[in-house]
Amino acid sequence: MDKFTVLTAIAAPLPEENIDTDKIIPARFLKTTKRSGLGVHAFDGMRYRPDGTENPDFVLNREPYRKAEILITYDNLGCGSSREHAPWALLDFGIRCVIAPSFADIFNNNCFKNGILPIALPREVCTELMDDARQGANSRLTVDLARQVIIRPDGREVPFDVDPLRRQLLLEGLDDIGQTLQHEKAITTFEQRRAQAQPWIPHIVLD
């Protein structure tokens, strides 16, 4: 996982609520056994017309947003399916930070696991940041994770909250499996205690 420290980038406004993970990456593109290569299908249904050509009205098909690394939407971004292909597709497109009033829980987790920073801010603030984003290529936002602020093009700062443990993992680009395995002794002790207290818990063994 790549570290996330300070990101200065073009932000794309997508003023919709309930953007579901089927919209971010339709199920027919989930038949891969890899994490990479999904960017071309990100937002497939909105991005391409039925004949396969680009829909010129869709924000990510317009300059400068083709190079957007920040995406700003309204409430409940990433609702629906648990597919991690959604953040994989965003990441492969180039998105490193998503900003919305709220995120669906599983999508929120999946973003952190892939080095994408989800930032929850009130709807009015998201609207203001969308207005900033509409000012074009010179209107970049800076996201400083260490300081937990977004710096707007006019220099004003918007503070945000982030879970401390997740912030640390992002700043260092760490894999949390390795971290959990440092607690392996505790896991083993838990298993032994439970096997004594609830010996009826079956093991799944096929004939």
Binding site: D75, S81, S82, D105, N114, W200
Partner: protein
């Protein structure tokens, strides 16, 4: 000790360790694996040289991209075949128990787990699939996870998570004729919205929930995710214990009695704190369906679709209009009488034997309307065999329905069962998102009985007219 909820009790009993910022290392009892969200996780284990900690707490099935037609034929879609073959190599390499395509026990992971007694009350259950919430019907804490978390569970048998907030949805009273668990749950989602449960685990309670059989409770918990919740729960009771008794992987004899004694301690304590309580009256719930491309767009079948003119916020108004355009509906129009092209009865929401019986009771002695394609997709090989033993297959086939093999089928458009652009489908599945059942497809979510009513009349119909 302060009074605790069902969620609190399951949570507390699975915390291995609490990290300084209140994140818990939570022990996982059951890990369900399928072909679509596991390949990258197995690959991750392989690359890091890690083992799969507990194959005996893991079960794998193929369901998402398998065809539901003739199983003796090879799988035509090369990328689906590759994903299935990849799973088969992985389960072999890591020693994971597996129900292959031709096994009688194959089926949709959320039908198979409870059916086999693999999912049990009081457990923590995860799967790389959001509808893992289904297993909460047993009184288990069950939730969907992403592929990175799948790898984390494989390697550590735990997950990192902060405690959820407690929400209680109470449905008291008795539902009227033609009103099913699906209608109750759609009514709840229509009421609280698709983000209504975000950050919460919802416990479903009240007499209307307690009176449901396990299939109905699974339908309710299944769609907790459509209400944005992390998980859904129903307290285990006699209905639960009788359901579990005798299942292949459930404890037997004295072990079963010991388990039941423990399961009886799980119900929420008197006076336990809920962060939010929502109450609905069962008598107010009618047969319902969705008109739009979000599961919260729920209206009574006797009602009218929404009118964007009534929405003050411009971005919301535009989004409503986009839904109407996508669905091919007019603002404010009556929904009943709208012609359908396809009827899909299946999915982890509604493909159990009880669902098929409900559909068959409407289909019996009637004919699928001219020009309508109607499909019945049982949730598992076991459900299919049971239905055939009861003669339901004959009822459906004589009425003109397709009788198919078990799988996720047309719920999610990643196998050969898909809508074509513009087709309108009455579907017992769980999501009506744009393109969910195939690009350009239009989905109306409803109950199995309502779906059968749509099949035989050729239009969205109030099932009560056919009872």
């Amino acid at each position: 000790m302060a009074p605790r909820t069902l969620f609190d009790k399951i949570w507390d009993s699975h915390v291995v360790e609490t990290l300084p910022d209140s994140t818990a290392i939570l022990y996982i009892d059951r890990h369900l694996v399928h072909e679509v969200t596991s390949p990258q996780a197995f690959e991750g284990l392989r690359l890091s040289g890690r083992r799969l900690r507990h194959p005996d707490a893991t079960i794998a099935v193929v369901d998402h991209n398998v065809p539901t037609s003739d199983r003796t034929q090879p799988i035509e879609e090369a990328d689906s075949r590759n994903q299935i073959e990849t799973l088969e190599r992985n389960v072999k390499e890591f020693g994971v128990p597996y129900f292959p395509l031709l096994s009688a026990r194959q089926g949709i992971v959320h039908v198979v787990g409870p059916e086999q007694g693999i999912s049990l009350p009081g457990m923590t259950i995860v799967c790389g699939d959001s509808h893992t919430s289904t297993h909460g019907a047993l009184g288990a804490l069950a939730f969907g996870i992403g592929t990175s978390e799948v790898e984390h569970v494989m390697a550590t048998q735990t997950i990192l998570q902060k405690p959820a907030k407690n929400m209680k949805v109470v449905v008291e009273g008795q539902v009227g004729p033609g009103v099913t668990a699906k209608d109750i749950m759609l009514a709840i989602i229509g009421h609280i919205g698709t983000a209504g449960g975000t950050g919460h685990v919802i416990e479903f309670a009240g007499s209307a929930i307690r009176e449901l059989d396990m299939a109905g409770r699974m339908t309710i918990c299944n769609m907790s995710i459509e209400a944005g919740a992390r998980a859904g729960l129903v307290a285990p009771d006699e209905t639960t214990f009788e359901y579990v008794r005798g299942r292949p992987f459930a404890p037997k004899g004295e072990a079963f009695d010991a388990a039941v004694a423990y399961w009886k301690t799980l119900a929420s304590d008197e006076g336990a704190h809920y962060d939010r309580v929502v109450e609905l009256r069962a008598e107010d719930i009618t047969p319902v369906l969705t008109w739009g491309t979000s599961p919260e767009t729920v209206i009574p079948v006797t009602g009218n679709v929404a009118d964007p003119a009534s929405e003050a916020d411009p971005s919301r108004r535009a989004q409503m209009q986009r839904m109407l355009d996508y669905m091919g509906l007019e603002a404010g129009q009556k929904i009943a009488g709208t012609p359908v092209d396809v009827v899909f009865i299946g999915s982890c929401t509604n493909s159990r034997i009880e669902d098929l019986r409900a559909a068959a009771s409407i289909a019996a002695g009637r004919r699928v309307a001219h020009g309508v394609r109607a499909m019945i997709v049982p949730g598992s090989g076991i459900v299919k065999a049971q239905a055939e033993e009861e003669g339901l297959d004959k009822v459906f086939v004589e009425a003109g329905f397709e009788w198919r093999e078990a799988g996720c089928s047309m719920c999610l458009g990643m196998n050969p069962d898909r809508l074509t652009p513009g087709q309108r489908c009455a579907s017992t599945s769980n999501r009506n998102f744009e393109g969910r059942q195939g690009p350009g497809g239009r989905t109306h979510l409803l109950s199995p009985a309502m779906a059968a009513a749509a099949a035989v009349t050729g239009t969205l119909t109030d099932v009560r007219e056919l009872i």
